[in-house]
């Protein structure tokens, strides 16, 4: 198992789990749109940008295109 932190909470996931799948286990919304709507992943393939999260301090990372790695810190703005 791989341990990551999502909004300060520790979560264990199987190897091969994307950051998006790890976040979706616990919450539906990933971000707020420009008018404040709650949004989550749509395409699952790196195109729509709805799954963006802050990863190890770097904002706007597409979580569906990234695999969880030990110790990763993931933050969502919703």
């Amino acid at each position: 198992m791989i341990a990551v932190t999502i909004n300060g909470r520790r979560v264990d996931v199987e190897p091969g789990t994307t950051v998006a799948a790890a976040v979706m286990r616990g919450q539906a919304g990933f971000r707020r749109s420009v008018t404040g709507e709650l949004r989550g992943p749509l395409c699952g393939m790196g195109i729509c940008m709805e799954c963006r999260v802050t990863l190890n301090g770097r904002p706007h990372e597409r979580s569906c295109q990234l695999l969880c790695a030990e110790g990763m810190e993931i933050a969502t703005d919703a």
Partner: protein, 375 residues
């Protein structure tokens, strides 16, 4: 040794890279995804195709190509950038429980537990059945598979396949035990439910919804290849209008593999595959005809429905625009981080606008990502 660069590691790109290596080229393959295999295989390449992973191919995953300057030097480029789903706006389509059909499948394949969840699968095309069957195998409760196409068209197609009326539909309903209905499409989604034409309000944990596939033409266009009505123009050898650039794939798996091989092989070996490829192309055309989008789907969006999810542009702001270009300039529709990849194909259907041409970089990117990959 001549060098070949392949962009895209789905069935088409893998077949192309393998064929090019057999023809004696030095081959590099790049893909955006963390795993090879494209949309259908996603890291799990079936045993009979594993030979495509020839150790002589230099493979780099997690690399996204968004501008021409970033391309490593090569004598020949084979673009195999695949497809994405078409999404059509309807009230509630931006809610977090609404995902693409392939989108939800991708999430489940990459670690989202789905056992016990109620899922409505809706939209257009055979992908709906493939997704529903997959999700069910992983323990999801498939409430309904709603296909927008009329019964007559779908059954004519299945009859042409099996000669026994409705065999494929029966197979879907009986063998897979799926509730598959034609003439059914989403009217609106609300938190925890979806309303389907002819089937009322259906409570669900997820709505998996996609209206067919569109070809990713952005990179070919950026490199100067001619694109017409959503397709990259190629000759029988899969050559685009730019001399050293080929394009392969974006069809059904069999066709994509054949096109990849044709692009990668030398002319003589490629020629032997033309008849099989042409048959596969004809089959894909029949699918496209059978699952064509009905006109009612362009009336689902209300004035308040958001069309551009990046900039939250409502339908009322874009419908009076003349074309895609003026919508971009006047409303910022298509100007956000997805660069019109989602709203472009939607507006094509809603307003009949063809997508406008692309300018680099085709993906917004952090500066560090624009660093040259040529080394």
């Amino acid at each position: 040794m001549p060098s070949t660069l392949v962009i895209g590691g789905g069935p088409a790109g893998l077949a192309a890279a393998w064929a090019a290596v057999q023809s004696g080229d030095a081959v590099t393959l790049l893909d955006d995804n963390p795993a090879l295999g494209g949309q259908i295989w996603r890291g799990e390449i079936p045993a009979r195709y594993r030979r495509f992973l020839d150790p002589r191919i230099t493979i780099r995953t997690g690399v996204q190509i968004h501008s021409a300057t970033q391309l490593p030097k090569a004598d020949r480029i084979i673009l195999a950038t695949g497809t994405r789903e078409r999404f059509l706006p309807f009230p509630g389509w931006t809610l977090p429980h609404v995902l693409g059909a392939g989108g939800l499948q991708a999430m489940v394949k990459s670690g989202l537990p789905i056992a016990g969840k109620r899922v409505v699968v809706a939209g257009a095309g055979p992908l709906l059945l493939a997704v529903a069957a997959y999700l069910r195998k992983r323990g999801a409760k498939i409430v309904l598979v709603a296909e927008q196409a009329p019964y007559q068209r779908v059954s004519r197609f299945t009859q042409s396949l099996w000669r026994t009326p409705g065999k494929l539909l029966q197979a879907a309903q009986l063998a897979l035990g799926l509730r598959y209905r034609t003439d059914a499409w989403p009217l609106r989604a609300d938190p925890g439910s979806v309303t389907i034409q002819g089937h009322g309000v259906l409570p669900c944990d997820y709505l998996a919804c996609g209206f067919g596939l569109v070809t990713n033409t952005e990179l070919p266009e950026l490199l100067g290849c001619r694109v017409d009505t959503g397709a990259v123009i190629t000759d029988s050898k899969q050559r685009t209008t730019v001399p050293h650039i080929h394009f392969a794939g974006a069809g059904s798996v069999d066709r994509s593999i054949l096109e990849g091989q044709i692009a990668g092989f030398d002319l003589e070996r490629a020629r032997a595959l033309y008849p099989a490829r042409d048959a596969a192309v004809r089959f894909d055309r029949r699918i496209d005809e059978a699952f064509q989008l009905r006109s009612e789907l362009s009336t689902l969006a209300t004035p308040e429905t958001i069309i551009c999810r990046c900039e939250d542009v409502p339908f009322s702001a874009v419908w009076q625009q003349r074309d895609w270009r003026s919508a971009k300039l006047q409303t910022r529709c298509g100007m956000g981080p997805c660069q019109g990849r989602i709203c472009g194909p939607a507006l094509e259907h809603l307003c009949g606008w063809p997508a406008a041409s692309v300018r680099p970089p085709i993906f917004p990117t952090r500066l560090e990502n624009l660093l040259d990959l040529r080394d």
